[in-house]
């Protein structure tokens, strides 16, 4: 097939970087575009939406407690038992879920990439120790860590939650990055850099990391929904965000208790959660396809 590749390569004389290539593929993928659009819409709503509403997230509407969705008193998506507007609470929940998951992904990405690149490139004993450390962290039941952290420190603090999620999140990134680095460091262009006298930091920053970005970006977009999920899970268990703050998880927990009498209390936050998760996963998959050079 190399003939065909050479031919096609020769014809495409115009400059095309990997990202521009990927963007062109992404643009043709309608589903991914739709998913990205929806994420943007939900995020925008979560950021600016509450400002336009007559209700705050902790406003109690004594006249309308536990009303079902409809046109009464402009609680279109209904209220919870205490008469708080579900739509606004869900938007606040999205805000917190997105904030925590984005921050946690960023933290885990930075730690994970640094850790993995160093372990993979330096190799030998260092690699052995660094990866055994990861293994040990992996084998600790993370729920215990979170419970211990939340009991040691203030319960429901966002910082603690962030640390707890981030502490677990970077492990997989580190493993993936290490594996990729092991492959990359044997490539001839890295050897060429060594032959020129480029030092280890230079090789890592200039040659290894840029070549990892593709797969890391894909992994990161797939991590965000995991983080949202994890945060919701902790909040669902009551270990996460505390009243009056809400996250999607705690809202779902509240709703689940009224599931039979007032199903909308479960459904409204659940729809937000599910659409966010599905959209992020679709974008992640789409990005992976777009960056995959095999299809070129």
């Amino acid at each position: 097939m190399s003939d065909a590749v050479a031919l096609q390569r020769r014809v495409s004389g115009n400059a095309r970087g990997l990202w521009r290539d990927a963007w062109q593929r992404l643009r043709r993928d309608r589903v991914v575009l739709l998913a990205m659009g929806l994420i943007v819409v939900i995020a925008l709503m979560a950021i600016v939406g509450p400002a336009f509403s007559p209700y705050a997230d902790d406003t109690l509407d004594w006249q309308h407690m536990a009303v079902s969705p409809g046109w009464q008193a402009s609680h279109w998506f209904g209220t919870d038992r205490l008469g708080r507007d579900l739509f606004i609470r869900s938007l606040h929940g999205v805000r917190i879920s997105l904030l925590i998951s984005l921050l946690a992904s960023a933290v885990s990405l930075v730690i994970g990439v640094t850790w993995g690149v160093v372990a993979g490139y330096v190799g030998g004993r260092t690699d052995e120790w660094m990866m055994r450390f990861v293994d040990v962290l992996y084998s600790l039941p993370y729920l215990f860590i979170v419970i211990i952290l939340t009991t040691l420190f203030q319960r429901g603090s966002l910082t603690v939650l962030l640390i707890a999620i981030g502490a677990v999140g970077w492990l997989t990134t580190a493993r993936i990055v290490r594996g990729q680095t092991l492959g990359l460091k044997r490539r001839e262009f890295v050897e060429a850099a060594r032959a020129t006298g480029v030092g280890v930091p230079g090789i890592l920053i200039r040659h290894i990391v840029p070549n990892l970005i593709g797969s890391v970006a894909v992994y990161a977009t797939l991590t965000i929904p995991q983080m949202i999920m994890f945060e919701s899970f902790l909040s669902f268990l009551g270990l996460g965000v505390q009243e009056p703050l809400a996250s999607l998880g705690s809202l779902i927990n509240d709703g689940a208790q009224e599931m039979q009498s007032a199903p909308w209390m479960l459904l409204v936050p659940a729809v937000f959660l599910v659409s966010l998760l599905v959209c992020f996963n679709l974008v992640g998959d789409g990005l992976r396809d777009a960056l995959d050079p095999r299809d070129r």
Partner: protein, 617 residues
């Protein structure tokens, strides 16, 4: 000049024809529009005839024959006809196509590792097409498979039947592929670059095998290759392809002796010859006797891990090699794959730490220096790699790639100074300086290699190590790159350590040549002497295996190709490592390691019997 057709036989004699391509067109639809890969190809393959299809990569030679097999990529569109007996293969699908391919048309691909299924024993892979197409029982098929493997000269065939592809050498794997292709006694065998991934010696063996099979089975054969030497030995007719068209077609003797199309003439000219005079690039240099680089008793050993409880073995990749490279000299290092030549090249630059021995550069021992101490010296010692694309960082523009050494070694330059230096160097290696913003994947292999050379040369090094710099390139591009290296050497006066398995290319550039086998030195001599009067039997074997693009000589050369493959470097033979393949081996060769001895006229050789052997011949 248009299409050139020679001789009477070139016209289609339809009775004897097995495969007849009629106005075959293949186009690919790509994001950048339609690309025509094959245009109006018409060709007839007769029974008992071998057609060599020659051309550079991208000429459409593979596509023209993948099309009738229904093996093209999904974005391909095919028009025209491919008549095989009574059926037209174009447009044939599903079971109807499956009845033909693998049964009546056999196919051999370039890379025998990727075209064999990794998890099935090779015996079963040979037997499977017989079970499928000939409806014989598995035991019957296995019996026939064994006979076939023996026919294609797989050594120790009964044991090999049970082995998996990764346990076989490249040459053995390609034999297995040929056995699979022959399993159902096909009417035609299509071999797509069957020897390109193999060593010279193994190449010759496979070509000799194909020539024998063609004679013995009377089937049609298509040999797709970029190597005119391969065609000269096996083919009856040659089709030269360029840009998807056949531009010259005729009997091998006529096309190769009196090519009429300018492109065919250029291809033949580009082919480095073993029998012509040594190019003047090689002569002259190396008069100064002061050694620039001295390697003494250098060994590189790798531990090979054999599981938890087994003792790890030691692989001696390079074993006690001593060399010196004089200022302004080009020294060739040749040998089969696994002989340690690339390891030697890397150890000479301290990219790999030698296990023992010394490397002295300009009177300064290098092997004890730390990475930091080596850094200023890296400016003088540069390397060009084998795979032109893999050696360039895919995320950097070619401007950034060529400028990187300047960032490290000439920090005093500002960005403008760097841009100037890069532009000058790019112009020097024949790349337009306004390409600085392009990425490596937009360039062809030859252009990528020029970038690799520009990166190595931008610091004006005094030693350039070239590790198989042209092996991945087309023949005509090879010639251009070697010419560029020769020019640069004349201009900058650096010395070159040129590692290659291709003896013809080495001859074109090098003053002296050293031959390695299983990590040890076999022979060292001035180039013209080594090629005209090899002292070591191994050198002799290597030289005989190099194909000559001369249809009068090459078939005869193929008839006395020597069998045998290098033994595992993990378990080298006692005494002289070459004795297991040497036709002149005697008792002493088993018992004692031959001395590295002076054979006069600054020639060195490691052979017990070289004196008597040279007297005989």
């Amino acid at each position: 000049m248009g299409f050139v057709m020679h001789s009477i036989r070139a016209t289609a004699d339809t009775e004897g024809s097995v495969l007849q391509l009629d106005n075959l067109n293949v186009t690919f639809s790509t994001p950048d529009g339609e690309v025509a890969a094959v245009r109006d190809v018409s060709l007839t393959v007769a029974r008992g005839e071998c057609i060599g299809v020659v051309g550079e990569s991208g000429a459409g030679k593979s596509q023209a024959f993948l099309a009738p097999m229904g093996l093209l990529a999904s974005n391909a569109r095919v028009s025209g006809h491919a008549r095989f007996g009574a059926v037209d293969l174009i447009g044939l699908r599903g079971p109807a196509l499956d009845r033909v391919r693998g049964a009546r048309i056999g196919m051999v691909f370039q890379d025998p590792m990727t075209s064999l299924t990794p998890h099935i024993a090779v015996g079963d892979q040979v037997a499977e097409p017989m079970v499928r197409h000939l409806k014989v029982s598995w035991s019957e098929a296995r019996a026939r498979a064994l006979a076939l493997l023996q026919r294609v000269q797989v050594t120790d065939a009964p044991r090999r039947m049970m082995q998996y592809p990764h346990e076989l050498s490249g040459g053995m794997r390609q034999r297995v592929m040929i056995a699979i292709a022959l399993a159902c006694d096909p009417d035609i065998l299509i071999a797509d670059e069957p020897t390109t991934a193999l060593d010279v010696t193994i190449q010759a063996q496979i070509l000799a095998l194909l020539a024998q099979l063609k004679r013995e089975r009377g089937m049609g054969m298509v040999l797709i290759t970029h190597d005119l030497g391969a065609v000269a030995g096996v083919a009856d007719r040659v089709a030269v392809m360029r840009g998807g068209r056949i531009i010259e077609l005729g009997s091998v003797g006529i096309v190769m002796k009196t090519p009429r199309h300018a492109y065919t003439q250029a291809l033949l000219r580009a082919m480095p010859r073993m029998d012509g005079p040594v190019a003047d690039d090689a002569a002259g240099a190396g008069k100064a006797d002061d050694a620039a680089l001295t390697i003494s008793r250098l060994s590189v050993r790798f531990p090979v891990y054999r599981g938890w409880f087994a003792r790890s073995e030691v692989l001696r990749a390079v074993d006690e090699v001593s060399l010196d490279l004089r200022a302004g000299e080009a020294l060739g290092v040749v040998g089969e794959s696994g002989c340690g030549k690339s390891t030697l090249a890397r150890a000479a630059l301290l990219l790999l730490r030698p296990s023992s021995g010394q490397v002295v550069w300009m009177g300064r021992p290098l092997e004890g220096l730390s990475t930091r101490e080596l850094k200023p010296l890296r400016r003088e010692l540069q390397i060009v790699f084998q795979d032109p694309l893999a050696s360039l960082d895919p995320r950097m523009t070619i401007g950034e790639i060529v400028a990187e050494p300047l960032l490290i070694h000439r920090p005093e330059l500002n960005s403008q100074g760097r841009a100037h230096a890069v532009a000058d160097m790019l112009t020097r290696v024949g790349i337009a300086p306004d390409w600085v913003n392009r990425y490596p994947h937009e360039l062809s292999g030859g252009q990528c290699q020029r970038i690799g050379i520009a990166r190595a040369m931008i610091l004006k090094p005094r030693l350039l190590v070239c590790d198989e710099p042209v092996s991945a390139l087309d023949v005509s591009i090879q010639e251009q790159v070697v010419a560029l290296l020769a020019d640069l050497k004349r201009e900058y006066g650096m010395c070159i350590l040129f590692v290659s398995h291709n003896l013809a290319v080495v001859r074109r550039l090098c003053d002296r040549v050293v031959v390695l086998y299983l990590g040890r030195m076999m022979e060292l001599a001035r180039a013209e002497e080594l090629y005209h009067r090899p002292l070591h039997p191994y050198t002799h074997n290597l030289l005989e295996a190099v194909p000559i693009p001369d249809p009068d000589l090459q078939p005869a050369r193929l008839t006395h190709v020597r069998a045998g493959e290098p033994p595992s470097p993990l378990n080298p033979p006692s005494g002289c490592v070459y004795r297991t393949r040497c036709p002149h081996a005697i008792e002493i060769c088993r018992e004692r390691v031959p001395q590295w001895q002076d054979a006069g006229q600054s020639r060195w050789v490691a052979c017990h019997r070289f004196q008597e052997l040279t007297h005989q011949s």
